[in-house]
């Protein structure tokens, strides 16, 4: 089992950038306390993209927030870039974040950019926080703008004046300026139209090829399938299946994964199997 690439501990080809072991997260206090994540183990290597698929309430966002230190883990270990961050204090977290090792891309680019700040200001913010000088920060931001195929004249505009696709590429550029080793993306293409979706996904692929580790969180298997090396399926707070993307899609083992694959809208299998889905749903309910 341990040699199996599908095993949770398997870290892929490079050095692991993220190692999560037996992560457990609870919300609420005392009687209202409920478990959101249980026994989640996942590791992501340099130059690897891991898709984390789950529906609303499956705990996928909590997973991201735990890795970013925004929620407290009640058990388990988290190692980022070799550093054990499990019991970190606020101050230690801030120092870690300031280094820009881990970054996060939100689903909704409009809401994750300050509407009153010019694009340039948003782009250089992580660098200014690090204490980089303004001129240097602007110069670096421009370099990354080119990497996400955006024009420099966008720098003076406000987020509201950009298209959705441009905005999402700006938020990608913003996380790139600190040269992170790990980027967590929460539904980065869900709000985008086809053309922009393709463009953002291509940028992500290029990033992966340049050695960055990506965790791609989504409810939609389809949007992850094209870029993920491995896929982890999160169901009710537990990872029920981890395997290479192709394996998960073509030979799903868990009932939920099968329903997920059967539910994802596809073009060519348009005459979808309604009865099959009904049967899977019935099995999940038991």
């Amino acid at each position: 089992m341990s040699a199996d690439p599908a095993a949770p501990g398997y870290a892929g080809p490079g050095r692991p950038v993220l190692e999560v072991t037996d992560l457990e997260v609870h919300y609420g206090l005392r009687r209202r306390r409920r478990r959101v994540l249980q026994g989640v183990s996942l590791s992501v290597a340099r130059g690897e993209t891991v898709g984390v698929i789950g529906e609303t309430g499956s705990g996928k966002s909590t997973f991201a927030r735990a890795v970013l230190g925004l929620v407290h883990a009640s058990a388990g270990r988290i190692r980022i870039d070799g550093e054990d961050v499990t019991g970190y204090s606020h101050r230690q977290w801030r120092a870690l974040r300031r280094r820009g090792v881990v970054q996060y891309v939100f689903q909704d680019p409009l809401r994750s950019l300050d509407p009153d700040l010019a694009i340039e200001e948003s782009l250089i913010e992580p660098l200014l926080v690090q204490g980089v000088g303004r001129a240097e920060a602007v110069a670096r931001a421009r370099r990354y703008l080119a990497r996400v195929h955006l024009d420099e004249d966008l720098l003076r505009r406000l987020p509201g004046e950009l298209s959705g696709g441009q905005r999402q590429r700006v938020t990608v550029a913003r996380v790139l300026v600190t040269e992170p080793a790990l980027i967590i993306l929460d539904e980065p293409v869900s709000g985008l139209d086809s053309a922009n979706r393709v463009q953002v996904l291509q940028i992500l692929k290029d990033l992966r090829d340049s050695g960055v580790a990506l965790v791609f969180i989504s409810h939609d298997l389809g949007s992850v399938a094209g870029v993920a090396d491995r896929i982890a399926v999160l169901y009710e707070g537990e990872i029920v299946e981890v395997a290479a993307a192709r394996t998960v899609i073509n030979a799903p083992r868990h009932v939920y994964t099968r329903l997920l694959v059967g539910s994802a809208p596809t073009l060519r299998s348009a005459a979808a199997d309604r009865a099959g889905r009904d049967a899977l749903r019935a099995r999940l309910r038991v």
Partner: protein
């Protein structure tokens, strides 16, 4: 009923003819001519990105264009009647009773302080003149018809107690309460999880088969539309760039934009993996570079 105008097949429940919509604020045309006909039990899909005019087109058919938007050309007929110049009272009759709609965010269309069942019952009371008990009975029937598992329980629940998928079912129940002939589903599954989206799409297909409901399914995702529709319109910046039977649009796309939509699914979506015959699939060694192999294979297949 007034006589059906010439040239319209009697069965068309919704017919748009070269509908144009103008924005009076910025003084420009937003939708440049949309035409389609919908007969009972048929499903027309409209695909396009945000701002393509697909939602405005639907809203025009429902007579609920946002402020400062007007239908500036063409005609819309609902069950053979031109809707231009309909009085508000006639609209009230028409909406719900003949044409109905569900939208993306179900929670915002329901009152959070009234149990959802009563809100559905209200539709039957107002539209069909049922008394309180009959309306309740009808609402329970409807909740069962949209395949909610425990209609009695859901009847007394509030919006915040229900999940997005359940709310969308409740909304569909309310939309079909007065027995409309046309249901417009505008991005009705966009905000939902994939598995729930499939449930709602299955439900719509089911309703259409059982009741002969005609559907207009609007989505930004070609795959969603492809799954349930007989005819597809591809819209881009207010223009219908491609229109035809679903199979034809999928397999012989003429416009480059349609091709782009299909390519996206083939390159980045599930189709990329599902297309490859399982027997041909290369052995996955999990070393992380199998994707490169997959790409090469895809190129070869093409």
């Amino acid at each position: 009923m007034t006589p059906v105008p010439e040239g319209v097949p009697e069965s068309a429940v919704l017919a748009l003819r070269d509908v144009r919509i103008r924005d009076e604020v910025n003084d420009r045309e937003i939708v440049h001519g949309v035409s389609f006909e919908l007969t009972p039990g048929r499903v027309v899909g409209i695909v396009g990105e945000s701002g393509s005019g697909k939602t405005l087109t639907c809203r025009a058919a429902l007579g609920i264009l946002p402020e400062h938007f007007v239908v500036s050309g063409g005609s819309i007929e609902i069950t053979g009647h031109d809707i231009a110049g309909l009085t508000p009272a006639r609209w009230v009759d028409l909406r719900g009773g003949t044409i109905s709609a569900v939208f993306q965010d179900p929670a915002s269309y329901l009152n959070p302080s009234i149990p959802v069942g009563r809100q559905i019952a209200e539709v039957s009371r107002v539209k069909k003149g049922l008394n309180r008990r009959a309306a309740r009975h009808r609402a329970l029937e409807l909740l069962a018809a949209v395949r909610l598992r425990d209609p009695e329980l859901v009847y007394g629940q509030f919006t915040f107690e229900l999940s997005g998928g359940m709310l969308q079912r409740v909304l569909i129940a309310a939309a079909i309460a007065a027995g409309p002939k046309v249901l417009i589903a505008d991005e009705a599954t966009t905000a939902l999880d994939v598995t729930v989206q499939a449930e709602i799409l299955d439900l719509l297909a089911d309703l259409r088969e059982r009741t002969g409901l005609a559907l207009v399914v609007v989505s930004h995702d070609l795959a969603v539309v492809a799954q349930v529709c007989d005819e597809v319109l591809v819209m881009r910046s207010g223009e219908v760039v491609e229109q035809g039977p679903t199979a034809q649009v999928l397999y012989q796309p003429r416009h480059e934009y349609t091709r782009l939509l299909i390519d996206e699914h083939e390159q980045y979506g599930l189709d990329r993996f599902l297309d490859a015959p399982a027997a041909d699939a290369p052995e996955v060694d999990g070393s992380g570079d199998h994707l490169g192999a997959g790409e090469k294979e895809l190129d070869r297949v093409r």
